[in-house]
Amino acid sequence: MTAFHLYMAQRLSALVMAPFVLVHLGVMIYAIQGGLTAAEILGRTQGSLFWFLFYGMFVIAVALHAALGLRVILAEWAGLRGGVLNGVSTAIGLGLLGLGAHAVWAVTAGGGA
């Protein structure tokens, strides 16, 4: 992994995230017209392979993008270097991935389908 590969991973994850963010916001605005309950949301998302893949990929891209961005900040502002820098940013990435995956699983697994 060179500095360039990390740079590319961050740019590409941003590229992946852009349409996800737009669809995510668009669907939210569309879905809340006329009120919305948790049960209604779960009714649409549970058992949906589409929403599982959509938010699954979204979460992977977010975890990568945020961890790489924070890695630069930790290096330049907190002076972390080498193994410590890699360790902390990997932990942040895995943490975000874990939290995100947990949420995705909670809203898309089980139910109908």
Binding site: T2, A3, F4, L6, Y7, M8, R11, V72, A75, E76, W77
Partner: protein, 262 residues
Amino acid sequence: MLVYLNRNTGSTAPERWKAKVTQRETITVTVQRGSAATGQQAQEFQVPAYESQTVLDVVSWIQQNTDPTLTYRFACRVGMCGSCAMMVNGVPRWTCRTHVKKVLKDQRIDIAPLRNLPVLKDLAVDMDPFFDKWVAAEGRHHPTAGREEPIPAINPEAQNRQVASAGIECINCSICYAACDTVANDPDYLGPAALQRAWTLYNDAKDADRSAILDAVSGKGGCHSCHSMGSCTTYCPNGLDPLSAIAGLKRATTRRFFGGGA
């Protein structure tokens, strides 16, 4: 006759001249003194103000009239050699071409050694890290032909040549390097001048190893560390644009990643 006149006016010609000198306005100049070993401390000097005067003139006046031990660097005094750069009121400038009037605030100027480089003594910094990074950025010529072969003609209108020409008037003053916050926060970062040099060579028809250049700027502290905030371009006294040169390197490395060739 002269003596009589002087008695009348109560002043001799040299005294009148002296009075003029003491009446001359002065500027208060703070200079950072000391080496890395001693640490730096500000020292204040009163320097006579002249109508036309550069910051380098002020520093030289102190060295010649008040303290001969003041250490600083200059050579050409006309903005060509790049050796006189210092921090003036917190901003990196070429002191030989910075008029005092332009930077004077409340009749004061603060002068300090260039930022982001180790201080040797007073206003002289160690330029080695700056030049070492030129080498690390592969800022050296990779010849396309030997000395026996004919020199190929270069078309000055060619697009690549124009891009290269935009960056070759660099005088190695390190002002952009001092202005760059990424250099300040990341000791590995190659910095704007070295990367701009790499970009001019990359666009030079007479350079034979574009891949080596892209490799050199893709590692730790390479062009991808640049945050594109543009302090380099803002402060370059020669009006060069390292920010765009670095953006060019980022594009070239990305193109190569997607199989576009070096």
